[in-house]
Assembly symmetry: C2
Homo-oligomer: 238 residues x 2
DNA sequence: TTATTTAACTTGTATTTACAAGTAAAAAAT
DNA sequence: ATTTTTTACTTGTAAATACAAGTTAAATAA
């Protein structure tokens, strides 16, 4: 595990307010305390408070209105996978199960990989995982993850079942996801995909190709996610 | 038209840098001038410069690295419709044409509308437009837009052909898009959609349902976009 | 009563100052 | 030559202050 570095004040306030919004202390449409009130409540200055609030606004938790205040935004009821978070945080409190299809193995990169790779990545080979995510016992996501084998000792031996890949990377290797790119398509389900997602062949499936950046420059996490959107939508906010 | 209000300094610098990145003055991987250099160059203080840079970073134009500097991020080659901007700005310099299928008309809202509506919106009726967007002469988007008829005089009479709806709302009604929600699904093309997008029936199509917020509280712009993703992907950054 | 003005809030923009923390290259020591 | 240390940069965090601009409700005037 990793020593918890000192957390900035603005980040602490961000987490507190975020939790309050999630827990319903502040409900949709509510006004947050004004910036000056937050200054007093939490003993910080306005620039610091404002940094917390603008981080919340960027995440879609609140909207700010000059002259009025910060208003809590409604929370999405669909699956918010478009944001940076992994599947685990995206589905919230739903009944989420993970089934490992292919345990983490080290192997060479596919020949026609969906993103271009650096020389270092190519040489290192990739750690490969295939998983199916079930929501209320229905298979919704089939995802294939790739990450270059750079400074990740013992990763193939770790327990993937009930923890997110993100969490393992953070806890054991200090790797944080900083951002990323994604491409989205609608494709017909292949034989393989239709089997995993309990669909008929050629039924429309959402395909996300993602390249996630980490705090380790040169280390990226790639994933190809196939999504059954018959029952659930993918949700995004901006 | 609208009088150009005074533009904040940080916004001006944001626009300058953004343009330089778009024009290739700063290329992918380049370091921007340091914050202190930008202060001197543009005669502002560091917090102001930092506000410009963090806006650029939020938009995905740069990534900031403590101790190193701000690095220009690569530009997407696909269609960036996941962000706040409309189709016009999303496709960049591509050859984009717009075909109006149904000219703007005022009519009642559909019975089973995709988003819930306020009483005021319901009473006002909606302005309805159907358009097909062509990229290099191939039909890619079929979109249906709805907006409540609140303080939008003469809008059904305006020229929609070669201007974005966003532009008309901004120039004539001072309405700016502030953010929004969207749901994404993969669906089989209906008869109607397949005809407009030159696809076979039941081929997979990307379906976006969007609710866009404006600076006018209570006024939203809704759109249902069907997208042929055979050739182009939809691109997003976060 | 009604309409207008004022005042008291709210967030937005901007300056100035200070130090912490991360990075990279130059300088020094081995 | 190689390794280590120092130094000079970079961005990150934080405070104190000031005024602008938008919103709302109270006070005032018609």
């Amino acid at each position: 595990m990793v020593s918890p570095k000192t957390i900035p004040q603005y980040r602490r306030l961000y987490e507190v307010l975020r939790k309050h919004i999630m827990d319903g202390v502040y409900k949709e449409g509510d006004l947050l305390p004004s910036e000056n009130e937050l200054c007093q409540l939490y003993g910080m200055t306005r620039p610091t408070v404002r940094q917390s609030l603008s981080t919340l606004a960027n995440g879609g938790y609140i909207r700010k209105h000059q002259g009025k205040g910060s208003i809590v935004h409604h929370l999405p009821q669909d699956i918010g996978i478009l944001s940076v978070s992994g599947t685990t945080s995206a589905v919230g409190d739903r009944n989420l199960k993970t089934k490992i299809i292919v345990k983490p193995v080290l192997k060479p990169w596919p020949n026609d990989f969906m993103f271009s790779l650096s020389e270092l990545e190519k040489e290192s080979g990739c750690i490969y995982v295939e998983r199916v995510r079930l929501l209320d016992d229905a298979p919704i996501f089939y995802d294939i993850s790739y990450i270059a084998n750079i400074n990740l000792p013992r990763i193939t031996a770790r327990q993937f079942e009930n923890r997110s890949l993100f969490q393992i990377l953070r806890d054991h290797y200090r790797i944080e996801i900083k951002g990323g790119d994604q491409r989205i398509k609608a494709i017909p389900a292949s034989q393989k995909i239709s089997r995993f997602l309990h669909l008929k062949k050629d039924q429309p499936v959402l395909h996300l190709e993602r390249k996630l950046e980490t705090n380790n420059p040169g280390l990226f996490l790639y994933s190809s996610i196939f999504c059954n959107t018959e029952k659930y939508s993918i949700f995004g906010r901006f």
